[in-house]
Structures are given as C-alpha cells and as structure tokens.
C-alpha cells in the first residue's frame, strides 16, 4: 500500500520536475522508469539512515542497562560527529559515576568506622542513612536504604519530637534520651543540621552516643559519697552523744564514765578502721597507674596469717587448716595486697563462723592461674545477697556487721585488688552451712621465677 502511494507520488513529482526542466511532458514509460529508479535510491537512503539509527539504538539500550561502552567510530561524516559527541558524553558520565561510587565508598567506610551510631534524615524527617554503629546500639533496624519515617526505624516518640525540633530550628542540639528495650540505655544524641549553599535546609545528621555506663558510674559515685558520709556520721554522732552526757555530769560517776569512754574508744576504732579501709580503696585505685607485681610464695603469706589471727582463732575455738600443695608455683602478685585480701577473707570467716567451727585455706593450680579458697562452716550468705556482697558498704545484716566492727568495705577491697591482678573473685555459700570465697592470681613465668 505504502509502496504504491510512494511510487505514485514519485511518479507525479518526477513528471512535474521534468516538465519544469525540459519544458515538455515525457512519455508515461519514461515517467515510470524514473519513478522506479527514484524509489530505489530513496529506499536505499532510508535503509542507510535506518541502519545508523539501529546502531545508535543498540548502544543506547545497552546504556539503559547500565553498560557504558563507547560507540566505535562509524565511517560517516554526520554520524561521526554524533558519535564523537556521544563518546564525550559517555566519558563524562563515567567520570561522574566513578566519582559518585568513590564518594559513596569513602562515605560508607567512614560511617562504618565510626563507633557511635549515625543517622541521616532528609528535610521531611525521614531516615535516609544509618551506619553499623546505630545497629550495634539498637539491634537490627527496620531500614534497607529506602527513605522511611523515623518511627518505623526507631520507635521512640521523644526522639521523634527532638529531631523534629532540630529540623524546625536548624540549630545544633544535644539531648539525652532513655531507650527502653531490651535493656534500658541512656543515649546522648547530637544533631547537626545540613544546609545547602543558600542556607536552605537539606536534612539532619544525628550522632548517637551510649552513655549508660557513665551515668551509672556517676550515680554510683554519688551514692558512694552519700554512704561514706552516713558511715562516718554514725560513730561520730555516738561519740558526740556520750561526750555531751559526760560533760553534763556523767563524768562524776566513775563506773558510768569508764563505760562511756570504752564505747567512745570502740567507736573511735571503728572510725579509724573505716578511714583506713577508704584509704586502701583509693590507694588501690591510684595504684592502677603503676602497679608492679613480683613473684611471690603464697605458703609464706598464709603461714603469717595463722600467726596474725592466732589469738582470735583460739578465743572462738576455731580450727584453722592450711592445705596448700608443696609444689605450688610462685604467683605474680603484690605481696602486701594479697596479704590484705587474705586478712579480709579470714577476718570475715572468723567473724561469721560460730565458735567451734572450721576455717580452711586451700590453693590449686588452674591453667595459668592459682586459685586460693577460704572456706568456713559459718552462717552462710543468702542467695539474693551473694551477687551484691562485693559492693561497697553492702552487708547482709547491717546491725550485726557493725556490732562485729565491720565497715562493709572488706570485700570491695578484695575485689578491687584481685581485679587489679586481672584475677577473678567468687563466692559459694549456703545459709547455715558455710561460705567459700575464692580468688585467682596469675602464675609467675619461669624466667621471673629464677630472679
């Protein structure tokens, strides 16, 4: 159909042209011949152009799939120019592409390297980027790279409110927010607004820092100070009370006065002990800086303990058994400190074991450690107290500990010292049956043994 119309058209056009050129009408046959010839030339031309376009189309469809290969030079003037332009465009594109991938790679590497959680939001407050650190904080996030409303990624209305505020104000802001599950965490969030060159908002970068530990330590510190003041005040109040009564006239009665002075004396002793213990604690903390353990023989230390506690053991008719193996290796430790550990543990064992009981100190090699155990047949420690027993000022029975002259700091000191030696402390106990306290210290290396 098209062919026919084409031929007819060519035929008529030819007739008109020939008529204009020659000034006369040609025979119909001439016209037909010319028309066919013209059509063939025209057809070839179309075909040629068609081929060129096909080639271009092939390449461009490859580009759509993301494969940018250059067009090979085509031996044709006009097309050659186009090809040149296209090739230039491709080079340019590849350059941008490389720059973008490079930039993205660098950004991802930087983000992954940051320990803090990082989140980037767009101007609508949707999450557009998160880093590994953020997932470490919150667990697997519901985010795959597609922009998402904040609440779908991290469901916390306080955070949402804060980020909205920051986005509206376009100011740097910092806030502490508590996150709940699975474990409550205190997180410090710092946001920086992103602006373009015209000061228009583009989005927001939020950095998340886990400060749970810091907050916990702060709380512990202030609780410790409160505890210390309380512990110091109790004996002081008592001393002051007796002093005032003495001054008010009790001094006249010799027997009462003497009794009061005895109480005051024991309260003063308690104050001294408390301050000594506090000083040891702070000394251990200070020692963390230059702590120099030496090879040490535990047998000697334990024998010294027996002498030290001799009178008290006899007083309470407690048997004291030492069962250390002959060939116990030297340990790498600070002698004074380990003595302090043993004193505290044996002191407790004596205090909390009724008359006639038994205390045993044993030791054993456990890998590259020596484990020392102080075991008694005393009153024992209830299960729920066992995990708190090493805390400062924690006592199972406050009144009883005080009565026995305790400060509540002994086990805290023990724990501090052993941790300084990188060792571990533990307790096993059953109410009414007895307790066992154990600790580990590292074995001294052979080379050091020879020194």
């Amino acid at each position: 159909m098209r062919l026919k119309i084409g031929l007819l058209l060519l035929f008529i056009v030819n007739l008109i042209i020939l008529f204009l050129v020659e000034g006369k009408l040609l025979s119909i046959l001439d016209g037909v011949l010319l028309a066919v010839l013209g059509y063939i030339i025209f057809w070839a031309f179309i075909k040629e152009v068609n081929n060129k376009f096909k080639l271009l189309e092939e390449f461009t469809s490859k580009w759509r799939q993301g494969r940018y290969s250059k067009v090979s030079y085509y031996n044709d003037k006009e097309l050659g120019k186009i090809v040149d332009n296209i090739n230039h465009l491709i080079e340019q594109l590849e350059k941008y592409n490389r720059a973008i991938t490079e930039g993205e790679k660098r950004l991802n590497a930087i983000l992954a390297g940051i320990k803090a959680g990082v989140m980037v939001l767009d101007r609508e407050g949707r999450v557009i980027l998160v880093n590994k650190g953020l997932e470490n904080l919150f667990g697997k996030l519901n985010f795959t790279g597609e922009p998402k409303p904040l609440l779908e990624v991290i469901r916390n209305y306080e955070l949402e409110k804060f980020l909205k505020e920051a986005l509206a104000n376009l100011k740097e802001m910092t806030r502490e927010i508590e996150f709940l599950l699975p474990n409550s965490k205190t997180i410090l969030i710092h946001v920086t607004p992103l602006k373009d060159e015209h000061d228009q908002k583009v989005g927001l970068v939020a950095v998340f820092d886990d400060i749970t530990e810091e907050r916990k330590l702060e709380k512990m510190r202030s609780e410790f100070i409160a505890n210390v003041s309380h512990e110091l005040r109790t004996p002081l109040t008592s001393i002051k009370g007796f002093l005032e009564t003495l001054l008010d006239g009790a001094l006249e009665d010799k027997t009462i006065a003497k009794h009061f002075l005895q109480i005051m004396n024991s309260e003063t002793e308690r104050l001294t002990r408390l301050i000594d213990d506090l000083l040891s604690l702070s000394k251990i903390e200070a020692k963390k800086v230059d702590f120099a353990p030496k090879p040490l023989m535990l047998q000697e230390l334990v024998q010294k303990m027996k002498l030290l506690f001799k009178s008290r053991l006899e007083e309470k008719e407690l048997s004291f058994i030492i069962s250390l193996p002959e060939n116990l290796p030297l340990v790498l430790a600070d002698g004074d400190m380990i003595s302090q550990v043993l004193i505290n543990l044996i002191d407790n064992a004596i205090k909390y074991t009724p008359a006639g009981g038994k205390i045993e100190v044993s030791a054993d090699v456990k890998g590259s450690w020596v484990e020392v155990v102080v075991k008694d047949t005393g009153i024992g420690i209830p299960e729920e107290s066992q995990k708190r027993i090493f805390e400062r000022f924690y006592r199972v029975d406050k009144a009883r500990s005080r009565e026995l002259g305790g400060t509540g700091l002994g086990l805290a000191i023990v724990k501090h010292i052993i941790e300084l030696h990188n060792g571990k402390v533990w307790v096993k106990s059953k109410v009414g049956e007895g307790s066992a306290f154990g600790f580990t210290v590292p074995i001294a290396q052979q080379a050091q043994k020879g020194e």
């Binding site: 409303p149 609440l151 469901r155 599950l181 409550s184």
Partner: protein
C-alpha cells in the same frame, strides 16, 4: 490518581501517628513498672498525667481514620489497613489505662516495705513489654511470623500470673496483715497479664492486615 495519592498520604500519616502512640504507651508501661520497683511516686504521677496525651491521641487518630472510611470508601487492603489501625489504637489505649492502674498501686503502697522482694512481677513486666514491642514491630514490618510467635510469650505470662497468684495467696493466708498489699500486687500482675493479652490482639490485627485472615493467638 491524585485522590489515590491523597488517600495514601493521609493513611501513611495516620499509621505514623499510631506508631507514636505506641511508643508513648510502651514508655508508660515501662515507667509504671519502674515506679513500682523503685517505689518512685513522682514517676508514678508522671505516668498518670501522661495518660491524657495518650487518650487524646487515640480519639484524634480514630476520628481521622473514620473520616477516611466515610469520605474515601476504601475497599480490600486499604480498608483492612484502616480497620487494623483502629484495632491497634483501641488496644494501645487500654494498655495505657493499665499502666495508669499500676502507677496508682505504686502510689497506694508508697512508703510501705514490700512484703516480699518482687521477682515474678518484674519478669512478667519484662515479657509483657517485649510483647508490646513485638506487636508494634510486627506491625511496622508486616511480619506475620513475629506476630504468631507472640503466642508462646503469652503462655509464659499466663503461667507467671498463676504463679504470682498462688504465692500471694499463701502470703495472705499466713499473715492477714499482708492482705492489703498482696491484693494490690495481685492487681498489678493482673494488669500485666491483660497488657500481654492486648499485645496479642495487636499481633492478630497484624496477621489480619497482611493475610486478610483471622487468627486467634489467645488459645
């Protein structure tokens, strides 16, 4: 086309509001339990005051969802999204009320020494809170598996509840002086058990949303 886009936008916004409400309720439950464990009356009062915001948000979301139904006459999944939304906020609102109930107990027994250290109640609280979180997570992620998993957690809560119930009952029988406090604690356990149930309702709503089928998690 634009009508469709407006509808989607409105619904997305509302679903975001639902998540905000969810977060507020999660916080309320957490604070209520915390106030009880730490005997913190101020915190309890904050929970009680905060419930107004939750209730307000619930009515607002519900009104807007209902308006969407009335004006857009959605069908199939669109309709399910709206219905699920309404179900979720209703359950969230009830949880919020129970958080307030727990906070009230904190205030009631303030200053009294606890008749026993709280062990099972915090455990129940932890699981119930986890279930609320799981329910909302399942909603956000259209995660049917997670929603179904909540069933086993609910069993655990029910089991703990009967344990607490029996234990408190023995306390009351042994010493009538403990009755007042033991009853309060019993109520707390009951509220937590209800919260867990509401959480499973959310799980069911999510399953309905995703599959279009009803599924009973409260077996």
């Amino acid at each position: 086309m634009t009508a469709r886009r407006n509808f989607d936008k409105a619904l997305n916004e509302l679903e975001n509001e639902i998540l905000r409400m969810g977060s507020m309720v999660e916080r309320a439950i957490y604070d209520a339990v915390e106030s009880l464990a730490k005997q913190d009356v101020d915190l309890a009062q904050r929970v009680i005051n905060g419930d107004r915001d939750i209730n307000y948000l619930e009515t607002e979301i519900e009104d807007r969802l209902v308006t969407l139904i009335a004006t857009q006459q959605p069908i199939a999944r669109d309709l399910r999204r709206i219905i699920t939304g309404i179900k979720i906020i209703t359950n969230l609102e009830r949880m919020g009320d129970h958080a307030v109930d727990i906070a009230r107990v904190t205030k009631r027994i303030a200053g009294q020494p606890l008749i026993k250290p709280l062990v099972d109640i915090p455990r129940m609280a932890k699981i119930s809170q986890q279930m609320v979180k799981d329910g909302l997570d399942a909603y956000v992620r259209s995660d049917v598996e997670k929603a179904k998993y909540m069933c086993s957690l609910d069993d655990e809560v029910d089991h703990l509840y009967s344990q607490v119930f029996r234990e408190l009952l023995t306390y009351m029988m042994e010493d009538p002086k403990t009755i007042a406090q033991a009853t309060s604690l019993l109520f707390v356990a009951r509220f937590l058990e209800r919260i867990a149930d509401y959480a499973t309702n959310i799980g069911e709503a999510v399953i309905y949303l995703v599959t279009g089928e009803r599924f009973d998690l409260n077996l």
